[in-house]
């Protein structure tokens, strides 16, 4: 907007109808400010677009390179015998599902109970100490967790699905506990008050009133933990990597898993194996994406329901 400023001699009153000159001050300072604004905005926008672009490039390249290897056999057959092409990663799919399921059975109840403890029953100082410990546990590199479980359960024995699931559970625990705590503290105090004032005991209040209200958020936390752990490779390398090529559901022996299989396939000289690795990566990305979308949808629904109260 370039309105020519009316030149008024200094000291003279502004003629009626004319805009105040000071407000229209143009000049180099204003132009530089506008330029700076545009530059900052542009940089921020560029950074955001770059992040999205990276995601698209990753997903795109995995898609391109892996799509060719996806066929029905990929899903239902185990690896082909040495030297032959074809086959699939069925054993790894089954193995991952089993490992993640067992890890969830371990980590979800314990994590939710920890969340209940820190949100409802612990003194504030105890609660923050526990949460600090959980944050540290969350930051432990997964390879260290893997070595730890290796030393605990595998060394001197054999690899097993149990050991792998245990390692995954340790990784899941802080995520579940943290999100459970946050969801439970979001429950309005008026709800707990209403229940206590009725003469309902504290633990029963938590079990029958608080937990159902927090269900959406708890499931979200569970899904996010599963998404995180489905692709963990390092802990499984030590605990459940030397697995049979047959589809196995026996956790007392090592179970194949998708991330470890990707690693193995990438080490092989055969290009069809590489293609399979890309395809397995695609499957993993898709699975994690699905879980994240589900988690967000559920959380949004839970938030809306809480907001209605």
């Amino acid at each position: 907007m370039s309105v020519a400023s009316v030149p008024t001699p200094p000291g003279a009153p502004t003629p009626p109808g004319a805009p105040t000159p000071r407000l229209l001050a143009g000049g180099p300072r204003r132009r530089r400010r506008k330029l700076l604004n545009r530059a900052m905005e542009g940089t921020a926008t560029f950074a955001a677009l770059a992040a999205v672009a990276v995601l698209l490039i990753v997903v795109g390249s995995v898609l391109l390179k892996g799509l060719s290897a996806i066929d029905l056999d990929f899903f239902i057959k185990g690896p082909a015998p040495f030297g032959q092409s074809g086959g699939g990663i069925a054993n790894a799919i089954v193995g991952t599902c089993l490992l993640v399921a067992m890890a969830s059975v371990l980590a979800l109840p314990v994590g939710i109970l920890i969340g209940i403890h820190t949100a409802e029953f612990a003194r504030p100082s105890t609660a923050s100490a526990i949460r600090f410990a959980l944050d540290i546990l969350n930051g432990v590199p997964t390879i260290v967790t893997g070595i730890f479980v290796f030393g605990l359960l595998v060394a001197g024995h054999v690899q097993s699905g149990y050991a792998g699931a245990f390692a995954l559970a340790i990784i899941m625990l802080p995520i579940v506990a943290r999100s459970a705590h946050e969801v439970l503290t979001l429950i309005p105090g008026s709800l707990k008050e209403a229940s206590l004032a009725l003469g309902v005991t504290r633990w029963r209040t938590v079990l029958t009133i608080v937990l159902p209200s927090a269900a959406g958020g708890l499931i979200t936390g569970a899904l996010l933990a599963v998404a995180r752990v489905a692709g963990e490779t390092a802990p499984l390398l030590f605990t459940s990597s030397i697995a049979s090529t047959l589809i196995s559901t026996n956790p007392s022996q090592a179970l194949a898993s998708i991330p470890v299989r990707i690693f193995e396939l990438s080490e092989s000289p055969s290009p069809s194996d590489h293609a399979q690795a890309w395809a397995a990566g695609l499957l993993l990305i898709f699975f994690v994406l699905l879980l994240n979308v589900l988690a967000r949808a559920l959380y949004g629904r839970a938030q809306r329901r809480m907001g209605a109260s």
């Binding site: 504030p124 309005p188 008026s190 709800l191 008050e193 209403a194 229940s195 206590l196 004032a197 009725l198 003469g199 309902v200 005991t201 029963r204 209040t205 029958t208 009133i209 159902p212 209200s213 329901r305 809480m306 209605a308 109260s309």
Partner: protein, 300 residues
């Protein structure tokens, strides 16, 4: 003593209450009214609990800060008593001490005695949970359980406080909703979510929820302050009927409301009861100058 205030939550509110079990540790006070003593020599007339609440030297603290500074007050049985006073004077705190909700706040504690039917609810062997079943509470903002239907909301009390599956749940819910003046409006949609009701209906649902466990006393902490005038009127009309079944204590910052619903009114200032008496007398001819200043609107 096992303060088993009610033996069966499903008993009708209209029938005389069965006596609470053995109350051998009654204080030797000269309190009037029937005492809940099993097999009392006073005679068969002493079956019904008196529903009288007495505060003796009640003090309430938030950490070190004393909010209620020694209150002696009697809430007559089957009467509506209003507590009025300026914001922050300790009305809500005092009322929350009656059903021991005050101690749920971290760092909060209470001293003194609160006697229900002559038994101190702060006594060493008294079960807090039983106290809260006998003394119900309705809060300022209606808070029905959001994940439950209307029926489940009212049934929550008997279900979650009774031992086994409570008998006659449907009758209990109906009686409670009738007592709260909500039955006609919701009888055809009991399975709909409780949150779908209007504000006034939600508050009456909360009243029904409290009534379903057969309390002796109902504490109401500014129950109408979040409601529109018509909903407020409905609840005020309700109080006139309800008081035949429960003793009602209502905290209100609305003096006109106190004048409309209460038999007696207590004026509280800075943690102390300044004056208490029949409502009409308190408003027209208050004895204390501070009371007069408050009711004529000079402060508050």
């Amino acid at each position: 003593m096992t303060a088993d205030w009610h033996t069966d939550p499903a008993t009708s509110m209209f029938e005389p209450q069965p006596q609470p079990a053995s109350s051998s540790e009654l204080p030797a006070t000269g309190s009037p009214g029937p005492r809940p003593l099993a097999g009392a020599a006073e005679g068969a007339a002493a079956l019904e609990p008196s529903r009288e609440v007495r505060l003796e030297g009640l003090r309430a603290f938030y950490g070190q800060a004393e909010q209620v500074k020694g209150v002696d007050l009697t809430f007559k049985a089957n009467n509506v008593t209003a507590i009025i006073g300026p914001s922050g004077c300790g009305k809500s705190t005092m009322v929350r001490c009656i059903n021991r909700m005050h101690e749920e706040i971290a760092g909060a504690r209470a001293e003194g005695r609160v006697l229900l039917d002559g038994v101190d609810v702060y006594g060493p062997s008294v079960d807090v949970v039983a106290v809260r079943r006998a003394i119900g509470m309705v809060f300022q903002k209606p808070n029905p359980f959001p994940t439950m239907s209307i029926f489940d909301n009212v049934a929550a009390g008997p279900r979650l406080t009774g031992g086994r599956r409570p008998k006659g749940l449907e009758q209990t819910v109906e009686r409670a909703l009738l007592g709260a003046g909500l039955w006609e409006e919701v009888k055809d949609r009991l399975s709909e979510p409780g949150m779908g009701l209007s504000g006034g209906q939600q508050q009456r649902l909360c009243i029904a929820r409290s009534l379903a466990v057969d309390p002796e006393v109902l504490l109401m902490d500014e129950p109408c302050s979040a409601l529109d005038p018509i909903a407020t009127l409905k609840i005020e009309e309700l109080l006139a009927e309800l008081k035949s079944r429960v003793t009602i204590v209502i905290v209100t910052h609305n003096m006109q409301q106190a004048a409309r619903v209460a038999d007696s009114t207590a004026f509280m200032l800075d943690g102390n009861i300044v004056e208490v008496g029949p409502t009409q007398g308190l408003f027209t001819t208050p004895s204390d100058p501070r009371t007069e200043e408050y009711v004529t609107g000079k402060f508050g």
